[in-house]
């Protein structure tokens, strides 16, 4: 199993730049998710890695070999399609062994690989059925098995769970991760569902406008987003403009914001004097009377079961806060505090 | 990707070249031949006819059966079209809106005329006419035969059109108190209109082009443009006359077919073909 190396990838269609200057390294056996809104370039990047698009500029190396211009049929990648793309005229067994027969894998090896995958994905009862006789979840597993049985250097997933219902999605998600780990496959997974990305990945590449905005572990992405886009895309965030007033030696920055003066913990110096900052709704502590005490008026209240979602308005801007405190009504003014380390410094504003 | 693009360009160039050979050249020859003036024959050593005029066109118009053939063809075709449409409507309604056992078989049976070889149909239809002693009114016989033989097209198109009439529109009309005729006008007719035009046009075109029935049933008294053309290609082969007739047959045809293509896009994409 090999790693992936991409250098300065660029994809242009008739003047429209879908991917601009993307470089990254993926280690062998790593599970990386490409995450972003529609049109961010994640599917284009996936197609470049799998060989269905040739980059306008840049290189791709798989397990150390330059495959930038190698067509998909000769690349050691396997793709799990969003629409499953099972061959409608072939049985499950024939679908599974299609790639193995194309590569002329020896009969004994073929049988061993097929048995392993059929066992793992629980497909033994369906082998002689045609795809149109299978349920969505079963088709998904056949598509997965067809790619897995190839034991590729890199296995690629194009939003494979988007056509499944919620419960099935959770189950298959766990299976995919388990199999990937068991076989030690390098995986690139594309999705627009951030919960999926956070749950499954070793690392997540958040993409926006054809660029990778941030590539980090899920925990670091959530706890330390680098830009307001990432902060808002992963989970909920309250993003504000802020002006740096002072930086003291102990790593505390004083900021002037539309809702008041805040003190944030910061390692290193902020890059400019006008920056953006954010804090997470669930970090607002309505009970404590600590630093960064703020107050605002509640404009909307939505009970969500394990927390209550409050929309606030202060200084002309809207904020969101999550709390377990009962008894808060629309129109009330509430006060809450934030710890300095719960305020994250984002990008500089020009 | 770039290789594919280049390949496409080469093939495109090749095909355009081939088109010149297989479409442009024959038609140009036909046009040139139709313009040959009888005062000087067009011999092999000249690239274009030495004297060109519309003499042939005029001559055909005045002296041959062209006028009669034109009248016959252009009277026959619309009549056949209307007849085919009227006869097909009840069947299409049944096939399109009533579920009955054997419906699929019925749909296939309706295609029967397309499977039987045209000359078999025409010869034995004529035989039937002789048996019944009905072989005097040629126009009627051909009209009847055309209507039946081209009905599969009308049935197919109208069945699809009827299937597309929305039940909820019919129900809404009934709910608002509409009489059967009003229901027809507001719920059925809008969905049927493109199909009606398409059917009329396709049967019209087929009838104008039809040769086997017109030849067997019609000759020697009743001429249509195809049978006239056939006649000029036989013993009395005068190349320029044949050229004139060919052009008369082709040009309206092309125009009508193009109109049909446009119409059929909205009625039934699978049926945009015609066979000579």
């Amino acid at each position: 199993m090999g790693g992936i190396s991409a250098r300065n990838l660029r994809m242009e269609f008739d003047g429209f730049v879908a991917v601009r200057d993307v470089s990254f390294e993926v280690a062998s056996g790593e599970f990386v998710t490409l995450l972003g809104p529609s049109g961010c370039g994640k599917t284009t990047l996936l197609k470049m890695i799998s060989g269905f698009l040739t980059p306008t500029a840049g290189d791709i190396l798989l397990a150390g070999r330059d495959v930038t211009r190698t067509p998909p049929e000769k690349r050691d990648t396997a793709l799990c399609f969003q629409s499953y793309a099972l061959f409608p005229h072939l049985t499950v067994m024939e679908n599974l062994e299609f790639g193995l027969r194309q590569k002329r894998v020896a009969a004994a090896d073929r049988k061993e690989r097929l048995d392993a995958v059929i066992g793992n994905l629980d497909l033994s009862l369906h082998l002689s059925k045609l795809p149109n006789q299978l349920s969505g979840g079963q088709q998904q597993r056949v598509a997965l098995g067809r790619a897995l049985v190839m034991r590729p250097s890199v296995i690629l997933f194009d939003e494979p769970l988007s056509n499944l219902d919620a419960k099935l999605r959770d189950q298959v998600r766990i299976e995919i991760r388990r199999i990937q780990r068991d076989f030690g496959l390098t995986a690139i997974y594309v999705t627009h569902d951030q919960a999926e990305a956070l749950a499954m990945s070793d690392r997540v590449f958040v993409m926006n406008g054809g660029r990778i905005e941030q590539s980090d572990t899920p925990e670091d992405l959530y706890g330390a987003p680098k830009t307001s886009f990432v902060a808002d895309f992963i989970g909920n965030a309250n993003v504000l403009d802020a002006e740096v007033k002072s930086v003291n030696g102990a790593g505390i920055v004083e900021l002037s914001t539309p809702i008041g003066l805040l003190r944030a913990a910061c390692s290193g110096r902020p890059q400019g004097s006008k920056i953006r900052i954010c804090w997470r709704p669930e970090h607002a502590n309505l009970a404590a009377t600590g630093e960064n005490r703020l107050s605002a008026r509640v404009t909307h209240r939505a009970f969500q079961g394990h927390f209550t979602d409050l929309h606030l308005n202060e200084g002309g801007a809207d904020y969101r806060v999550q709390t377990n405190m009962p008894g808060i009504r629309e129109g009330d003014t509430i006060a809450f505090s934030l710890r300095p380390d719960q305020i994250v410094l984002l990008e500089t504003v020009a | 990707m770039i290789a594919a693009h280049r390949f496409n360009q080469i093939l495109l160039a090749l095909l355009l070249g081939l088109t010149a050979v297989w479409l442009v050249v024959p038609f140009t020859m036909a046009i040139l031949w139709s313009l040959v003036d009888p005062s000087e024959p067009w011999t092999a050593d000249r690239l274009v006819p030495p004297v060109m005029s519309f003499y042939r066109w005029q001559d055909m118009w005045e002296n041959s059966s062209l006028k009669v053939a034109l009248v016959n063809s252009y009277l026959l075709a619309p009549s056949a079209a209307i007849a085919a449409l009227m006869l097909s409507m009840p069947t299409a309604f049944a096939l399109g809106r009533i579920r009955f056992p054997g419906r699929e078989v019925a749909k296939i049976l309706a295609l029967l005329p397309l499977i039987v070889p045209p000359f078999v149909t025409s010869i034995f239809f004529t035989s039937l006419l002789y048996q019944l002693g009905l072989n005097t009114w040629r126009f009627g016989a051909i009209l009847f035969a055309h209507a039946i033989v081209f009905m599969p097209y009308a049935i197919r198109i109208m069945t699809v059109s009827f299937e597309q009439v929305r039940s909820d529109h019919i129900d809404a009309a009934r709910d608002l108190g509409a009489s059967p005729w009003a229901r027809w006008k507001v719920a059925y007719l809008p969905a049927l209109k493109p199909g009606i035009f398409a059917s009329l046009l396709i049967v019209f075109i087929q009838s104008i082009e039809e040769f086997a029935i017109a030849f067997i049933v019609g000759s020697p008294d009743f001429t249509t443009i195809p049978t006239l053309l056939y006649g000029t290609l036989g013993q009395d082969f005068v190349r320029p006359n044949a050229a004139v007739l060919s052009l008369i047959l082709v040009v309206p045809n092309v125009l009508l077919m193009l109109i049909l293509e446009r119409l059929l896009k909205s009625a039934n994409p699978a049926l945009s073909s015609g066979k000579g």
Partner: protein
């Protein structure tokens, strides 16, 4: 289904389907009956196998059978073989693909007789093809190309006229194969020809069968191309049939007609079976 409903359905089907089945049924019935001696317009009517036995022994008939089948099979196979790569090429739109599509389908607009005339005009003794070949120095003298013995003229005309129809059918079928399925085949290692054999062909078998059968029947039953551009020492079955009819020999014509129909059905069945076997498709 109540009786009342059945009556309604039958009444609705009568003017359309009823007339069709009636007319075609009667025509076929008369053909079959006349072939067995009934409805003899020029002699005694009665069951007789003579017409069949006489005809089957006739050389001109047997030659016509072989000849018509030859033209039918070659035309349909050639037309489909040409149409397939074109349909695959035109599967995805690219600049100029609409124009090419329209040009390739143009022969559908041209009446058969006109096509025959244009053809013999071009290959005429002093026609443009002869002049072209002589001009290039490939030929020294004009060649007589019309009415050639191998019926190449007829076959060219059939393919010219019918290939667009095959193209239409095959284009629809080929376009219905989803991109993803073809991409999946590529991803799993299948090159161009492997994709055709294992994915495209099995999934388009019924369109291919339909094209082959319809073109086969059309070429088998051809009359006009044969008479205008075909070999003079051979007759097609339709030509033979018309010949007998114009001579008043209705019963002989009937035998030829019924043979034509039988060959059409058997030939179609055979073509369909052979196609399915070679493509080895298996769709539920």
């Amino acid at each position: 289904m109540t009786l009342k409903k059945w009556l309604l359905v039958l009444a609705l089907l009568a003017p359309g389907l009823g007339l069709i089945v009636g007319l075609i049924g009667v025509a076929v019935y008369i053909a079959v009956a006349q072939s067995f001696g009934y409805y003899n317009l020029s002699g005694e009517s009665g069951f007789s196998l003579d017409f069949w036995s006489d005809m089957l022994a006739r050389k001109v008939f047997n030659r016509a059978v072989v000849y018509s089948i030859y033209v039918g099979v070659i035309s349909s196979v050639l037309a489909v073989m040409l149409a397939y790569p074109l349909a695959i090429w035109l599967r995805k739109p690219f600049p100029g693909s609409l124009t090419i599509g329209a040009i390739l389908k143009a022969p559908l607009l041209v009446h058969g007789l006109v096509a025959a005339f244009l053809f013999i005009n071009v290959i005429a003794y002093h026609g443009i093809l002869n002049q072209f070949m002589q001009g290039l120095g490939i030929w020294d003298a004009p060649k007589r190309l019309q009415n050639d013995r191998a019926a190449i003229g007829v076959i060219i005309l059939q393919v010219w006229k019918q290939m667009p129809f095959a193209l239409l059918l095959l284009t629809g079928a080929v376009q219905s194969i989803s991109d993803d399925v073809l991409n999946a085949a590529r991803d799993l290692g299948a090159g161009g020809f492997a994709r055709f054999r294992k994915v495209i062909a099995p999934l388009t078998v019924s369109a291919m069968q339909a094209a082959l059968i319809i073109i086969f029947i059309g070429a088998l039953a051809d009359f006009s191309f044969q008479v205008i551009a075909g070999p003079t020492n051979r007759q097609s079955l339709s030509q033979l049939m018309v010949f007998f009819k114009s001579g008043g020999r209705w019963n002989d014509a009937a035998v030829v007609g019924v043979s034509l129909m039988i060959i059409a059905i058997l030939g179609s069945g055979l073509l369909a079976a052979v196609t399915r076997m070679t493509m080895r498709g298996r769709l539920a």
